[in-house]
């Protein structure tokens, strides 16, 4: 009730923006001068993107060379698509691609909806202190590093005296070699991600839920809607744009499956399901010193990510939502 009508405020802002736009067009170059403080505020971000995101892209050039550090980019020999051909013809390529895409799909299908459900559930908690306590507790794992989480998992799951396996043995089951069996890797990977990131991911949804117009809930109540109905017909539609935007953004970043995380889980016995582009780039590129080849792998991975995000954006627009661009 306090925030009487957020829709109206934003409408007004949009109108005003429209107004400035027109004004800028009419007055030409005076617009920049008039809005100089706005441009000044953009500047740091702009510089950041140029220095840390655009300039390094020039380095992608070495994926078409046999880059030798002491020769530099200028003198290293050009080899065309050699490294890409090697990537696509190597027997590991399909393993890498499928492992990466499967984990990507699991991330979207299993992990993505969870924070939404949790946020809706938290929203229904009426006791304020209880709600805050729960929120704080589920945020905490986000601040732990993967090294710690994987170490904890190791202590729990090892066959040599790990708690879980001891419990299994005590209950008369066979011990399970979680850490070395390929079948368990994806489950372990997802469980760790959920444990670490679930709480943190609810933040934006919770914020989105708080701005839902309370009048809508009151109206729904008048019509005799229960809690579930209200969630389904009021809350969810209200936060739908947020969900779509986050989904598209997530698709863009999920191909980065977390090098550190996977590198720590990877071993000789689960490599067939655990080796992903990120770990491959590390071993081939940095450890083995093949900078050009690993740049080629990285570039390919970037392209796959770009295609995925464009597809998602198009799909979103088809369903009548605003995309991210």
């Amino acid at each position: 009730m306090k925030m009487s009508n957020p829709m109206k405020v934003s409408d007004a802002a949009a109108l005003k923006l429209e107004g400035t736009k027109k004004a800028t067009k009419r007055r030409g170059q005076y617009g920049i001068l008039r809005n100089k403080f706005l441009y000044l505020m953009i500047l740091p971000g702009f510089i950041y993107f140029v220095i840390f995101k655009y300039l390094p892209m020039g380095g992608l050039i070495i994926s078409f060379q046999d880059y030798q550090p002491y020769l530099g980019i200028a003198d290293s020999p050009w080899v065309g698509l050699k490294h890409f051909i090697r990537l696509f013809t190597e027997p590991t390529f399909f393993m890498l691609l499928s492992n990466t895409l499967i984990l990507f799909a699991l991330n979207i299908v299993i992990f993505f909806p969870l924070p939404i459900i949790l946020a809706l559930m938290l929203n229904e908690v009426r006791h304020r202190y209880f709600k805050n306590a729960i929120q704080t507790i589920i945020y905490i794992p986000h601040f732990m590093s993967w090294v710690i989480i994987v170490s904890i998992t190791y202590v729990f799951l090892t066959v040599d005296g790990g708690v879980i396996n001891e419990m299994l043995a005590a209950m008369g089951f066979q011990k399970i070699s979680f850490l070395t069996s390929p079948e368990w890797l994806r489950t372990m990977y997802m469980a760790q991600i959920i444990w670490k990131e679930l709480g943190w991911s609810t933040i934006i949804y919770l914020a989105a839920i708080t701005v839902v117009d309370t009048q809508l809930y009151e109206a729904a109540e008048m019509d005799g809607a229960g809690r579930l109905r209200k969630t389904w017909h009021v809350t969810l539609p209200a936060i739908r744009p947020v969900i779509i935007t986050l989904l598209i953004l997530k698709i863009g970043t999920t191909l980065d499956l977390g090098f550190e995380h996977m590198y720590l889980l990877l071993n000789s016995l689960n490599r067939e399901v655990a080796e992903i582009f990120d770990t491959y780039i590390y071993t081939a590129g940095l450890k083995n010193g093949q900078l050009s080849f690993s740049t080629a792998v990285g570039l390919f991975k970037g392209l796959v990510g770009l295609i995925l995000i464009m597809m998602a954006n198009k799909l979103a627009k088809k369903f009548g939502e605003d995309g991210v661009y």
């Binding site: 030798q68 550090p69 002491y70 000789s268 940095l286 083995n288």
Partner: protein, 504 residues
């Protein structure tokens, strides 16, 4: 607070004084002709490998600087990330006056050396008393394409062996094993006969880690007569170790240990620290690794397993014949190079001054300083030059990190008074008589340089899978076939060609 302020002031004073010295030194120096002033204070930056958790404090460093008349600035690289750190340093040309290069078979390190990025030092060595003493065979094996691009680290050829709980052997009435079968019997007894006498079935024979080279596998493979990485026949045919009978025997041995539970089940994912902890906690009685680890294992067990007594074995064979004794030599005994990049060491005079510094590091005094620390502070020494560390915690903090700065590790008068360490040193020296070298170490293969470690991964994975029973002999042979077709065949033929070139 006060103390640190005083130290800070001292540092400032030292910097002022030393920079004044450098200024005067520069004034008198004639750079172009390669003449250097041996008495000038050298300012040296050093990219070095750190094997301990944190870098050393300045105590020993100050003494070392005094001793070598230099001003040393270390940039430490943790051992665990040395590959990528050295590679990025090479790629971005952010090097120091001295760069410790330990991975001479890494392709980018090799390419960098061959490119002429570093000074070639062989012609200069004869002018320095300690450097002139480096044996010619060491120089030969540390050379790449016949050229020596740095001062080689002189390490022991073969450092590995088996460490066993002596108190457990005694309790069960067993002898120190001489053959692999006896070793298996000991492992069985340690697993099944409750050697710690606590009434619980909570011990295993072996405790191993996720490392087929520095863990148990490679050392055991030597006992089965496996070559060290490569075997070369009379007529110049090269065979990789995993295509030999010895390798198969070793895999079967490990598989046996695994199937019967004589080894920790999760060895494939156990880290070195966990492995050593398990041994120190009395969960296992056989440790295969560097022989000098025995001293650390015993130290770690203090307060946990106070009854622990250790015995080492380096004469195990699969046949029981003394003539079959063999032990693989890590990197053919070359611990790496101290290299001097041309981008940092600009002229001959500077190079000569730095070589003088390295020469000084090889002195007995410097060795004692970097190994035991400062007499009276870290250790005491008796009239037979036997040193005992008196303050282990302080030694670990201030001295131990310098271990990797020693260009040479043995052949000095001063020695450890610890009987276990002495025994280990003796056995390591003894190992040199039976050392198996890698004939491909100095050979060139383009495919190995670009894809070597990717290919090696296929074999490592298959070896683990065989030991854990996920694939059988057919499966392993299939892995070898795919290794061949993915580039292994090219490595073989390239090595053979390179070998032929060196023979003629």
């Amino acid at each position: 607070m006060k103390k640190s302020q005083i130290i800070a002031m001292k540092k400032v004073a030292a910097v002022v004084v030393s920079s004044a010295l450098i200024l005067t030194a520069c004034g008198g120096e004639n750079a172009s002709s390669g003449v250097y002033d041996a008495n000038s204070k050298a300012e040296i930056s050093w990219l070095n490998i750190l094997h301990t958790a944190s870098p050393p404090t300045d105590t020993v460093l100050n003494k070392l600087e005094e001793k070598t008349n230099s001003d040393i600035t270390f940039s430490w690289i943790p051992d665990a990330s040395k590959e990528e750190r050295i590679n990025t340093a090479l790629a971005s040309d952010s090097l120091s006056d001295i760069v410790t290069l330990t991975l001479l078979d890494n392709s980018s390190v090799r390419n960098a050396l061959k490119s002429g990025m570093f000074w070639e030092v062989e012609p200069y060595l004869k002018d320095y008393p300690n450097l002139a003493k480096i044996p010619p065979e060491t120089i030969k094996s540390a050379s790449i394409g016949g050229k020596l691009y740095g001062v080689p680290f002189q390490k022991d050829l073969a450092r590995n062996g088996v460490t066993i709980r002596k108190d457990w052997l005694d309790k069960l009435g067993l002898e120190v094993p001489k053959t692999t079968d006896e070793l298996m019997a000991v492992a069985k007894a340690f697993t099944e006969q409750d050697p710690d006498g606590n009434g619980a079935n909570d011990t295993t024979g072996f405790v191993d880690r996720n490392d087929l080279v520095y863990g148990a596998f490679k050392t055991l493979s030597s006992y089965f007569g496996t070559p060290n990485n490569w075997q070369v026949s009379e007529d110049g045919k090269m065979t990789p170790e995993f295509m030999t009978e010895g390798y198969m025997k070793t895999m079967n041995y490990m598989k046996d240990l695994y199937d019967k539970g004589y080894i920790n089940k999760d060895f494939a994912v156990t880290a070195k620290t966990d492995q050593q902890q398990k041994f120190a906690q009395g969960k296992a009685g056989i440790y295969v690794g560097a022989l000098f680890d025995s001293k650390n294992l015993l130290n770690m067990s203090k307060g946990v397993q106070d009854d622990m007594e250790l015995v080492m074995a380096n004469d195990i064979t699969s046949t029981g014949n003394e003539s079959d004794r063999a032990i693989w030599a890590a990197n053919n005994g070359i611990g790496g190079l101290l290299s001097f990049p041309r981008s940092e060491v600009k002229d001959e005079a500077e190079l000569k001054r730095i070589l003088k510094f390295v020469n000084d590091l090889l002195d007995e005094d410097s060795f004692a300083l970097m190994t035991y620390g400062i007499e009276g502070t870290h250790y005491k020494v008796d009239d037979k030059d036997a040193a005992t560390i008196t303050n282990t915690d302080l030694w670990q903090q201030e001295v131990q990190p310098f271990a990797s700065s020693r260009p040479k590790e043995s052949g000095y008068n001063i020695h450890d008074a610890d009987p276990l360490k002495q025994m280990a040193d003796k056995m390591i020296a003894d190992n040199a008589n039976y050392a198996v070298l890698n004939p491909a170490y100095a050979l060139e293969s383009e495919t190995y340089n670009t894809q070597g470690s990717e290919l090696q991964k296929m074999i490592v994975d298959a070896t683990y899978k065989y030991i854990l029973g996920e694939i059988d002999e057919n499966g392993f042979n299939q892995a070898i076939e795919s290794w061949k077709s993915a580039g292994g065949s090219s490595i073989i033929s390239e090595y053979e060609a390179s070998y032929k070139a060196t023979q003629s």
